[in-house]
Symmetry: C2
DNA sequence: GCGAGAATACTAAACGTTTAGAATTTATCC
DNA sequence: GGATAAATTCTAAACGTTTAGTATTCTCGC
């Protein structure tokens, strides 16, 4: 139904070739350019990118696999990515896995069938099987927020991560500098890449500060609201309560806050608190929450750049990029003594 | 590079036709089915949906235009939609407008070029120009969370909205029933469809309760965090302060909470508060925030259903769907006297 | 073993582009 | 004006499917 190049060619009295050249920004005789332009306007012609994709075998589309569409860190990064894509004429097919790994393979299959030119995967738990399937199919891959368990990747893909160890280290140091010695940590289990790294940063800082690591202050559960809630419940009921807590994920933090409220434990006052991730609500809490912010802009820019490089055929070596985290000091850490 | 039907045909000794039939679920001789199946597995064949789309002129793709990718209401609905799509073999191209209307036309153009089979638009401000361009191009449209200003739509599209008037009415009534008579409202300007409706529900409830509407208690600003912040600042400095406030958008609510905190006005205690939208943080605040929740599931299901009906060629009449809102009572409304 | 009808498979032409390779027009210079 | 080079355009064959229209094979009853 919509007009094709053939229609434009017929209407303007030139060949399809000339139309194609003009539409793609090539130089044609002024006279012809005008006639084509007129025909395009008249018939409301829009290039059929499907046909173009078939012929050029480039879909100009990047597949996005996201653990949770509603995760505000991921959607924040994606917002930046989308912007870069538009400028470059790319667009993105987004699909969600809800964290189920069979789902991620199914979605991957779908995307490969759609002949995407590359894939960006947003997940905190990276499945080696997934990565290999991806690489095996020859499509470029950028993984945000994860590294595969056990061993470096071995194909053409990039990993973009916040420097979680430093981020957690700095946060913990901030607590120590404010006189805290009994510091708890709430984080996800080791399948979550960032969870493990953040735990490590916490431990390293304590070690370096000469503070013994108390096992009963390390709370590990699912990397979501419920997990945070459960950890905080356990923490609140501890006989020898810590004076501060580092929560390694914003969802866990939300859950933890619920539990602290239920236990009448005033987070940010009685119990100093630092959480990971800058979310819109952070300043709305009372006291305002000190957080470890990840740089959405930098991560997004880099993810977009790398996947576009790969999509355009660059045969790049693996890359692991660490983006610094930034401690945003607000009011939820009290100075002890 | 990847295997094509031709390769499969050659390898299994049948014609492309037979391969196509088999791949599409048609019945072929057992013997052939086996040979094809083997070849498919061996060569890792995946149907090229680009070629299929070209031939069938159905891309099996729905374009999504979203005001903000990070808006948790929209992404929550989208998550539901994505699920329906997968089951039906569809997928979605998501792009963001950041609320700029020239941007929405640009994105629309991109999507039409990609030959999407339909468009879902998530926005609280619906541009009639946009709708008409959409309809003019013959592609189905579903608009979530908005109705065009001035006049019903006049083409093949659906509008799915929360019943904002009732939602705001119920919330206001809940305040009145708890003894509040001085009730403020914070909302967006009239370009935001839901903002106006929610204001109306508030006003209707007051009128019906015999409470005079005080103009100085109606705060209108941008439908975002900053707007909410500014409104709340003005509210907090009022000589004759209200005892309760209805905030008509979750972003405005977050901004308002910041301002209330800065003014040492304890929201949910000194100032009862009801906000629109169920966000993950709602229960994490202290006190837990009473909210007007929109039904992501129902909205998402309906949006997906309608756009798929349209995509599959159904020539449906316009539809306006109102999904009931639900008041979720928590602790941020105190009983007066 | 044959013919009819059903079941299955084949051939070839599209879908709307891009792009080699060949052909034409235009510009340049003596 | 004619020869040459440069600029522009044309023709036609792909890209990987789907699908009419047609041909082949199979199944039966007799």
């Amino acid at each position: 139904m919509p007009a094709t190049m053939k229609d434009i060619a017929a209407r303007s009295g030139v060949s399809i070739f000339t139309v194609s050249k003009y539409v793609n920004g090539g130089h044609v005789k002024n006279e012809n350019a005008e006639k084509i332009e007129a025909a395009v306007a008249e018939l409301g012609y829009k290039v059929n990118t499907t046909a173009r994709a078939l012929k050029t075998s480039r879909s100009m589309t990047i597949g996005i696999i996201m653990e949770e569409l509603t995760n505000s860190f991921y959607s924040g990064v994606m917002s930046v990515v989308d912007n870069y894509f538009l400028e470059s004429g790319y667009s993105s097919i987004i699909t969600e896995t809800k964290g189920r790994s069979e789902e991620s393979l199914r979605k991957l299959d779908l995307l490969l069938s759609k002949r995407v030119d590359g894939i960006i995967c947003f997940t905190s738990c990276c499945d080696l099987n997934f990565i290999n399937t991806c690489i095996g199919s020859g499509v470029g891959l950028v993984v945000v927020d994860s590294l595969p368990q056990g061993g470096q990747p071995c194909g053409s893909c990039d990993f973009i991560l916040t420097d979680n160890v430093c981020g957690a280290f700095d946060a913990t140091r901030h607590l120590v500098e404010n006189g805290h010695h009994e510091i708890a940590v709430i984080t996800g289990d080791s399948s979550r890449f960032s969870a493990g790294e953040r735990l490590r940063g916490y431990q390293e800082c304590l070690a370096q500060s000469g503070i013994p690591v108390r096992g009963d202050l390390i709370f590990i559960d699912e990397y979501n609201i419920d997990g945070g809630y459960r950890c905080a419940q356990r923490l609140a009921r501890l006989a020898r309560r810590p004076t501060a807590v580092l929560v390694c994920n914003y969802l866990m933090a939300l859950g933890a806050l619920v539990a602290f409220n239920e236990n009448d434990l005033r987070a940010g006052e009685e119990l100093s608190l630092i959480m990971f991730d800058e979310i819109q609500a952070n300043s709305a809490f009372r006291p305002r929450l000190t957080t470890v912010g990840q740089s959405l802009d930098e991560i997004g820019r880099l993810a977009a750049e790398r996947i576009l490089l790969r999509a355009r055929g660059g045969d790049l070596p693996d890359g692991i990029f660490r983006i610094p985290a930034r401690l945003i000091i607000r009011d939820s850490v009290v100075r002890l003594k």
